[in-house]
């Protein structure tokens, strides 16, 4: 019974990891589309997808290892690392876009720029998806239980 409960939790953990990965992939896509939507939202920053990919790999790896080896402290630490990677990616994106947001929203310089707003929405969408991914990882962080064998 105990083992079933543990497996169930690990299944949920795995599911959350996959969900988080989907959010992050979508976020990266939105970011990239935002760049190519043109406007002030240009200049591809390779750090953002790189951090995202690391976060996904790490999260999925943790989920798989938890399935196989059960929960260990290191997995909780790695979950925190995943959060850190997501936050850094998110803030890098915001840092690179905040000037553009300001130009678009606070002045009428670009008020009629349809492509600029399209890029803005993609950027906001990307940031939102990163947040959802982060929340998934937060929830996952609570799921890990110390497996007591036997």
């Amino acid at each position: 019974m105990k083992k079933e409960k543990g497996n169930k939790k690990h299944g949920l953990r795995f599911g959350l990891s996959i969900t988080m990965s989907v959010f992050l992939v979508l976020a990266t896509l939105a970011y990239v589309i935002g760049i190519y939507a043109f406007g002030y939202y240009d200049d591809f920053n390779v750090l953002i997808p790189m951090l995202t990919v690391f976060a996904i790999i790490l999260s999925v790896a943790v989920a798989i290892l938890m399935e196989k080896k059960g929960n260990q402290e290191i997995f909780s630490l790695l979950t925190i690392a995943v959060s850190a990677l997501i936050v850094v990616a998110l803030m890098t994106l915001i840092s690179a876009r905040v000037y553009s947001f300001a130009i678009l929203l606070l002045s009428d310089l670009e008020k009629d720029r349809v492509d600029g707003y399209r890029a803005l929405y993609f950027s906001i969408g990307a940031a939102g998806l990163y947040m959802f991914g982060l929340i998934c990882n937060f929830v996952a962080g609570f799921i890990g239980t110390k497996k007591v064998s036997g």
Binding site: S76, S83, V87, M91, S95, Y99, L109, F138, T145, K146
Partner: protein
């Protein structure tokens, strides 16, 4: 325990993420500190003084209360508008209006309700303070039909006036719209109310200008073809505007019909001029917060005021037919994708513009062609090419509705040059006295425009048949200091107006004369006065015997026996060609034929489209022409700069009153300024000058723009000018001024100076050192969407207007940044558009105004333009910055860029090496998320030339700002205290909260793990 361990781990996870988020957010906010403070009305530093603060102020405002300051804004702007409004038509003395009691009027046109008060972005007046036409009229002796006003208010949502088109970084442009109320809507208009408000119908028509937008000639410029007749231009009247005129005329109840032109782009209004049912036309430009009071007073006879403004641009019948309009708009290199493969045009290298009209912009074209059509018909001046009437010979009368400098008054004046009171030195400085006599029945002011016709013969360098060389205005010599005293010339009275003119501002530039030089050809020079350029030219033609009439009083002929070559400035700087690479023919031979008056038909500009950048041009378009040296010996600079956080005791206040560039005080201050801070400020436009803690520098304070400081008074007022929150003017906004074309139309040195003085007073109150004005690009074409910020199509008027404003402002300690240097003559792809021109045209039109403001106005700061000069970013162009500005004009002040948006294009190394000092950038974080990487001590300290350029940069900057408002309220004993605005406190609190959470739950997690392990054991 298991459960708790999981909870602690989860909470630790959240708090760690929160901590990282908050720390990064803090860094981000810190990098935007200046912008955040400005937007959130907060402050991050404060000066604390010991002793009486008044003693620490070198610049004091003439106004001691906010009420006085606000009243000054109202009065000056009312006067600027009253003297800058131009009466174009006044059939049968329809104006001024006069009745017993209130004058009852009905306003027509969507712009009577949604008026263009100002430009946009940096040239925007405070909306909440705008006094509408209706409000001003009702306050100044009129009764405005309220039902009609309500009718338009009800239509605001559907018929917001259209504007020029957005045109930044595009490969396709769209036209603009007018969006005047269509006739169908007038079925619901309160027609029954008209009769009760029928002393006059006032129709307001206009076009909205804006930064980053342009109009375009022909079909391209029209977004909705249903708005116009086929073949019309966006600057012509739309079908709905024409229908509105007919509608008003058809009412039959209005005693008079008056049209107000609310536009800073010259419109096509020949139909209105020739419409006998239109009694009067007034150009009002963009009136700012209080300009309509001036307009109301001019309309009302009871005020006793008379218009005295004149047009700053030619009003052509068909604006698309001018030579400049043949090349205006979007032109992409055919191979632009090979130059810059990025989808975002990160190199801003895709576009070009060829100005092949030579010197013949604005009136210089229309008047010169007119002259040649009479004097030299063989030149093809009367050929069909460029004619507004298809198939017909070019004829001035069917080309120009109202010439440059034209303007009526309610009285009449005669102007005569008084030779015995004049001292003419064609090859030097002359003073010309003009006697003005009021020959009419009412008092008024007359602006005196002095023109010069230079001798021209085939084979000589191009010359305009007439050019403005100076101007003055009656009454100003008698008026008391300030702008409250107005002296009118009474009927029958005469006044002598003396105008000083300068050789350097009318000599012609000849690229073929030696290495390039200004020349004055031998022959007869005609000084002439008149009501505008055309009138003056007719006087010259009369004096030369080509037209009938006696021009002996209005012209003065002066002989120059021998050709004069000017190859060095009065200060001894060499004059030589600087812009050979800006002639497209030197890069792609045979591309452009420049217009010459010896062959109008054969050289009239053709559109230059479809050019391909050559292999030699592409590296220059890519901008990366300077590579930082590595490992060079720069030890000579070790003691030149200061050390971070280690003050040597030199205080910035030793610069108070220092105005000599060679003064050793600059070096002393620099020796206490750390290189890393200097580099930071270079890329941060000195928005955080208080970071120079070693010299105890305070806040600098900077603001746009051409219609006053974009700052509210109360929150920004500081020191001895601090304003209480209870003060009724606490929320007063200082951006109130009329648009620059209205200032230009006053033809008043005094009023431009007074505007500068008042902006200076504003700046003293709010401690604003750095003003991004005057804007002074030439109106090359009426299609430039940003003409609202610039004065005129004429460089002399532009140069002196800007100079007077700068002198007034700088007397009050403001550092004026004239802009946009240079050739920012259209907004379409302004970032990076490669602008080609011939050097003579460049020097005699666009650059001449700047030359005046540097030499006469002594401006201490200049902002470069977004565009390229030829192939090179303006700030990095050695011809413009190194050769002309720093060399020939010997300019020592600060050169800054416009707002950096494309760091790969606006690359700092090339700019600094050319003589630019500051990169205008509100944050070190650019779009790619990082500052220019190489702008760091570890890189620049390996490049000796760059270290020299950086030293020059800070030297120029201190020279510009050392003796200014910056040091107002500071003394050697002052302390700059760091403040923590609420947004910073919030972020720091979040950082603290997250850190505590991380530590607490991290420890609990570890403890729970230890406990559970013990339990297992």
């Amino acid at each position: 325990m298991k459960r708790k361990t999981g909870i602690y781990a989860g909470l630790t996870n959240i708090f760690v993420a929160m901590l990282i988020f908050a720390v990064m957010a803090y860094n981000l906010a810190d990098s935007y500190r200046a912008t955040l403070d400005e937007r959130l009305l907060t402050s991050s530093s404060k000066i604390v003084n010991t002793g009486p603060e008044e003693d620490m102020y070198d610049y004091l405002s003439a106004y001691s209360t906010t009420d006085e300051l606000v009243t000054a804004h109202e009065m000056l702007n009312e006067r600027l508008q009253a003297e800058g409004t131009v009466l174009l038509k006044n059939q049968d003395h329809a104006l001024p209006l006069s009745t017993e009691g209130d004058i009852k009027v009905t306003l027509f046109g969507m712009r009577s309700d949604l008026t263009q008060f100002c430009g946009s972005i940096g040239a925007m007046t405070a909306r909440v303070q705008n006094v509408s036409l209706e409000e001003a009229l009702n306050e100044r002796g009129f009764a405005v039909n309220p039902e009609m006003s309500a009718f338009y208010k009800g239509l605001e949502k559907d018929y917001k006036p259209g504007s020029a088109s957005s045109a930044s970084s595009v490969v396709e442009v769209q036209g603009g719209t007018v969006n005047e109320v269509p006739q169908a809507e007038y079925a619901n208009a309160p027609q029954d109310s008209y009769a009760a408000y029928a002393d006059a119908a006032i129709i307001v028509l206009g076009r909205d200008c804006s930064e980053a937008r342009d109009f375009y000639p022909g079909e391209t410029g029209i977004a909705n073809p249903e708005e116009f007749e086929e073949g019309d231009n966006i600057l012509g009247l739309s079908l709905d505007e024409k229908a509105l005129i007919s509608y008003v005329e058809s009412q039959g109840c209005f005693d008079k019909i008056i049209v107000l032109i609310n536009s800073t782009s010259a419109m096509e209004i020949d139909g209105l001029k020739n419409d006998e049912n239109i009694d009067a036309i007034m150009w009002i430009g963009a009136p700012g917060n209080y300009g309509f009071y001036g307009v109301a007073d001019l309309l009302n006879a009871a005020s006793g005021m008379s218009p005295s403004g004149s047009l700053t641009d030619t009003y052509a019948v068909n604006t698309a037919k001018s030579p400049a309009a043949q090349n205006f708009g979007l032109y992409c290199w055919e191979n632009y994708k090979d130059i810059d493969a990025s989808s975002s045009f990160e190199l801003r290298a895709a576009w070009y513009l060829v100005c092949n009209e030579s010197i013949y912009d604005g009136y210089k074209y229309y008047e010169t062609r007119y002259y040649d059509s009479i004097v030299n018909p063989d030149s093809g001046a009367a050929s069909e090419i460029g004619s507004s009437v298809p198939g017909a010979a070019w004829n001035y009368d069917t080309e120009v509705s109202y010439p440059f400098g034209y303007g009526l008054t309610y009285t009449s004046f005669t102007e005569e040059i008084v030779p015995e009171l004049s001292d003419i030195q064609i090859d030097g400085t002359s003073t010309v006295t003009v006697r003005v006599t009021n020959t009419g029945d009412v008092a008024g002011k007359d602006n005196v425009q002095l023109y010069l016709a230079l001798p021209y013969a085939a084979g000589q360098v191009e010359k305009s048949a007439i050019q403005l060389v100076g101007y003055g205005k009656t009454g100003e010599a008698q008026e008391a200091e300030g702008f409250e005293d107005v002296v009118y010339l009474q009927p029958g009275e005469s006044e002598d107006v003396t105008i000083t003119i300068e050789r350097d501002y009318y000599a012609s530039y000849d690229t073929q004369e030696g290495d390039g030089a200004y020349v004055l050809d031998a022959g007869t020079y005609y000084l002439a006065v008149g009501d505008g350029a055309h009138d003056a030219l007719n006087h010259v033609l009369s004096a030369q015997g080509y037209l009938d009439g006696d021009a002996s009083a209005s012209t003065l002929a002066v002989e120059l026996a021998e050709k004069v070559v000017i190859d060095e400035t009065k200060e001894g700087q060499p004059i030589q060609n600087q812009f050979e690479d800006c002639d497209i023919n030197t890069l792609i031979p045979g591309t452009a034929t420049y217009l010459t008056r010896s062959d109008w038909a054969g050289t009239f500009p053709q559109e230059i489209n479809g050019l391909t950048a050559t292999a030699e041009m592409i590296p220059l378009l890519k901008n990366d022409t300077y590579t930082m040296a590595v490992g060079e010996d720069t030890s000579e600079y070790e003691d030149v700069f200061g050390t971070k956080n280690q003050s040597n005791g030199v205080n910035v206040c030793i610069l108070k009153g220092v105005t000599d560039y060679e003064d050793p005080a600059y070096d002393e201050v620099i020796s206490n300024m750390p290189l890393e801070t200097i580099l930071y400020e270079i890329c941060m436009e000195y928005s955080q000058a208080e970071l120079y803690t070693e010299v105890k520098a305070g806040k600098l304070g900077l603001s746009d723009g051409p219609v006053g400081l974009l700052k509210p008074l109360g929150i920004n007022a500081m020191g001895i000018y601090e304003v209480s929150k209870d003060d009724p003017n606490y929320d007063y906004n200082l951006n109130t001024y009329v648009s620059p074309p209205v200032v230009g139309a006053t033809f008043s040195h005094k009023l431009a100076y007074e505007e500068g003085k008042l902006i200076g007073d504003d700046s003293i109150w709010v401690h604003n050192t750095w003003l991004y004005a005057s804007a002074m690009n030439n109106h090359r074409c009426p299609y430039n969407g940003r003409n609202n910020e610039y004065y005129s199509e004429d460089p002399i008027l532009t140069g002196y207007m800007a100079s007077d404003t700068v002198i007034g402002a700088q007397e009050n300690g403001v550092v004026c940044t004239v802009k946009h240097f240079a050739f920012n003559n259209m907004e379409t792809n302004r970032e990076g558009v490669a602008t080609f021109f011939d050097e003579q045209a460049g020097r005699e039109n666009e650059l001449r105004g700047f030359q005046i403001v540097f030499e006469v106005g002594k401006t201490k700061s200049v902002m470069t333009s977004f565009n390229r000069i030829g192939l090179t970013f303006s700030s990095a162009d050695e011809g413009l910055i190194t050769g002309l500005l720093r060399g020939e004009w010997d300019y020592k002040g600060a050169v800054g860029t416009d707002m950096v948006k494309a760091p790969l294009y606006e690359s700092w190394e090339e700019c600094l090496m050319a003589g630019t000092d500051i990169m205008l950038n509100t944050s070190p974080i650019n779009e790619d998320g990082k500052a220019w990487e190489t702008l760091q001590v570890k890189y620049v300290s390996q490049d000796a030339d760059m270290m020299a350029a950086i030293y020059e940069s800070i030297h120029h900057t201190l020279y510009a700002f050392g003796d200014s408002i910056w040091l107002n309220g500071l003394s050697a004993d002052s302390e700059v205290v760091r403040l923590y605005p609420y947004w910073e406190v919030i972020i720091i609190s979040v950082v603290g909260f997250a850190a505590i959470g991380t530590v607490v739950f991290g420890l609990l997690w570890i403890l729970s793990l230890i406990k559970s392990r013990k339990k297992v054991k």
